[in-house]
Amino acid sequence: MNRHRIRPLLLTLALLSPPAAGETLDVDSAVRRALAENPTLRARRQALGIAEGRSRQAGLLPNPELEIERPAEKGRDLELRLGFDATSLLLRKGRTEAAAKDLAAAKAGIDSAAIELEFEVREAFHTLEDADRRLALTRDALDAAAAAREMAEALLAAGNTSALPAKAAIAEHESLHLAERDAEVSRTMALERLTRLTGLDAPLVEELAEAGDLPETPEIPASAVSRAVAGSFAVASAQRSLEAATLRARLTRREGRLPDTSVFVVSSRSGGEPEAHGSPSTGGSAWTWGGGVSVRIPVFDRKQGDVAGREAEAVSLRSEIDALSRAVASETREAEHHTASAHARARHLRDVVLPARRAVLEETLLHYNAMQIGLFPLVAARRSVIDAELLESAALRDYRIAAARLAALVAGGRPGRGPDTTAMASLSGNDANGANGGH
């Protein structure tokens, strides 16, 4: 999703209806719901009013100053003085421009947050998809272990074996109950994360929509790195802040050089004899008008310190933009590589490892039919297929998360790396990388 897609999308959010049981939820619907309902994003949007207020404030004219004085001297009973800060008027345009840049920086920050939220929702959705599959596969493995246990117990009851095979099968079956509990906990965590992100008060009730197949080629946008750097909201936000700082430095320099000038008009009324002590005369009075300019001469304080501070801020922001650009480029290259390798891994599991394990199961069944082996190797072969299916599910999840991260970067966001979900362990503790992991 790019920045041009976000705003029209936000406009349609009001049309969303609340979730209902029995419906299915796909990842795009979850994203739309989160963009509408996520409380953190809503707070960020509301905080934009602060910058908007500042911008508006910067464009306002300074108020005139009215002084009313009753002089003590005889013959003058009232003096009016109206002054106006002319310097502020001269600096108003510059202040307005700087505030506009601040506002633009804040808006870029919100666009970035929306994209990063979209990534988080996609990550949470695919993690929940995997947790669902993992739970179902763990229950399949439990079923297989139960079959082995029942066979071992039947053989023991018939007097055909010692207690050893039955005890081993019972231990294996009972151990797998722990894996089922772990899978349930993982699913609950994933569900709650998606619930939080989509801003719901209660857990999601919809079924997740059927996950699509792995695409034949990894979804890597063309010129991803240059597009990510050019479209980065973080870089844009820093750029606007730099522009604001540059404008403020110029404004401060100008402010320091300009004499602090106020213009004013004065009107005074002179009158006749007072009617009583302390009371103005009510007859024979006349208003006289005059004016003047007040200038504070910038001889010593020309805001040199403030100017230096502003200039330093601009230099710092320039360095920050450079660092940000480099970081975004590096993260995009990393995401490209991760997407490609995750796709290759998922495809290898889908096209090579899983068919190979299924072929072993099929051949094992033929050997079972031929009475060359018993049920236990057959169950082991099925468990091996389940392990491969678990790995394939985790690999598919990793690919979708990696592709979502890359898409978010290209769209201008800067998503976090998220949890390291690579090489999830199979139930037997093995995975294609030979590493151990798991929940």
Partner: protein, 423 residues
């Protein structure tokens, strides 16, 4: 595939083996069967005899040691080693006192030699590589020449890397016919070589390293139903020459429907005074036994090794004993875990259904017979004793009415004082 199909295929295989023998351009052509005066030709079921010819009074033959594509039975083949395109090698028939010259060409990937097992020859012709001769290098042809001095039933096999070469099928009969008739003349003369192989289900090459777990037992390197039956006439005198060059096991060969006498071994003729009637002859590893009998009871009579695991093909030993186990709960669950699963063996091993099994294997297969499946395999063949052996030799024996065991009549049971037990 029905039995008739099996037998037809078996005939085709035999024909192909013979054609393979003729295709050897360097081999001398056979002019006539080598038989004793007044005798009959030896028949090697599923096998062949070595073509030979007389060259200036010397019988000349040519053995080619080579790898062969061998069929044990329809559906089960392997890469074996043998002679002249087959295993066992062709039966070599010689005549007592007649000089013989056998050329041996080595087309194996390793050296070899040929030992004339049981035959007394000049020491340098005994074929023991390293001890009595150099091993025949790959691609070379060696000459063996000797004069068999004693009639009898002998064998030949390599004496170089015997474990591998014998295990892969390099065995054969060598029969020396007597110059003058000896004993009672026979009407039929068969030669059957027993052998045992380790061929894992689905594999295509026997394992020569096997020492105990042989799963394929054969007559003339064929497993039932691939074995060609022995067809004889009622009242005919029959000779069956049995040899054993298997790696490890002796075989008690049992014949149904008759009794026989062991008339000779590879050590010589058994004096008549030492013979006694038998129905089972134990054939030790590295020995021959010659059985003779008169087939006077018509029918289809099994002939098989009586070690029960030797009369079945590719029986596995990795499956647990399920007899008596209540697997009803497992069945329902396993059909969910592995679709296509079915529990087998809880009531015994008989009556197995046709199920998909690994390619190139014949485990636990029954052969259709006239009354149902024949649940035997391996070292098993059928002696067909018929009034007219030329009439329908491939068909099943047609039993006279009332001569086949059948369901008992309750009224007759009662009349005979038999009470049917409660089940």
């Amino acid at each position: 595939m029905d039995r008739r199909s099996f037998l037809n295929l078996g005939g085709l295989a035999t024909g192909a083996a013979l054609l393979g023998g003729r295709a050897l351009a360097a081999s001398p052509s056979r002019k006539a069967p080598v038989v004793a005066p007044g005798g009959v030709a030896v028949v090697t079921p599923n096998g062949s005899s070595l073509p030979t010819r007389l060259v200036r009074g010397v019988r000349v033959g040519h053995l080619v040691a080579e790898s062969v594509e061998h069929e044990f039975a329809p559906g089960l083949s392997a890469e074996a080693w043998g002679y002249n395109g087959g295993t066992p090698g062709p039966t070599i028939e010689l005549v007592e006192g007649e000089r013989v010259r056998i050329y041996v060409t080595n087309r194996l990937p390793e050296p070899t030699s040929v030992h004339w097992h049981g035959l007394v020859v000049p020491n340098g012709m005994d074929g023991v590589s390293g001890l009595t001769q150099k091993a025949i290098p790959v691609g070379e042809t060696y000459l063996y020449e000797f004069t068999p001095r004693r009639a009898g039933t002998y064998m030949y096999h390599p004496h170089y890397d015997e474990m591998t070469q014998i295990a892969l099928g390099m065995v054969g009969f060598l029969i020396v016919h007597p110059r003058r008739p000896e004993g009672q003349p026979v009407d039929r003369d068969f030669a059957l070589m027993t052998h045992e192989w380790s061929l894992p289900v689905g594999a295509r090459r026997p394992d020569p390293l096997a020492m105990s777990d042989f799963n394929l037992l054969t007559f003339n390197s064929r497993a039932f139903p691939g074995t060609e039956p022995l067809v004889v006439g009622v009242g005919e005198r029959v000779r069956i020459r049995l040899g054993n060059l298997g790696p490890m096991d002796h075989h008690p060969i049992h014949l149904h429907g008759l009794s026989f006498q062991v008339t000779a071994t590879d050590g010589g003729t058994v004096p008549e005074s030492a013979r006694y009637p038998e129905t089972t002859a134990l054939v030790p590893v590295g020995a021959t036994r010659v059985l003779e009998f008169v087939a006077d009871e018509p029918g289809d009579w099994p002939m098989h090794c009586h070690m029960t695991h030797h009369a079945m093909t590719q029986m596995g030993h990795g499956t647990p004993n399920l007899i008596g186990a209540d697997t009803s709960a497992v069945d329902a669950r396993m059909r969910r875990v592995v679709p296509g699963y079915m529990t087998m063996g809880t009531t015994g091993m008989g009556g197995m259904m046709e199920m998909p099994v690994p390619a190139n294997s014949l485990p636990m297969r029954a052969t259709p017979g006239p009354f149902g499946p024949i649940e035997m395999g391996g070292m098993f063949t059928i002696l067909k004793v018929r009034e007219n052996p030329l009439e329908d030799p491939d068909g099943w024996y047609r039993h006279p009415a009332g001569t086949v065991a059948s369901l008992a009549d309750p009224a007759r049971m009662k009349a005979d004082g038999i009470q049917e037990p409660e089940l």
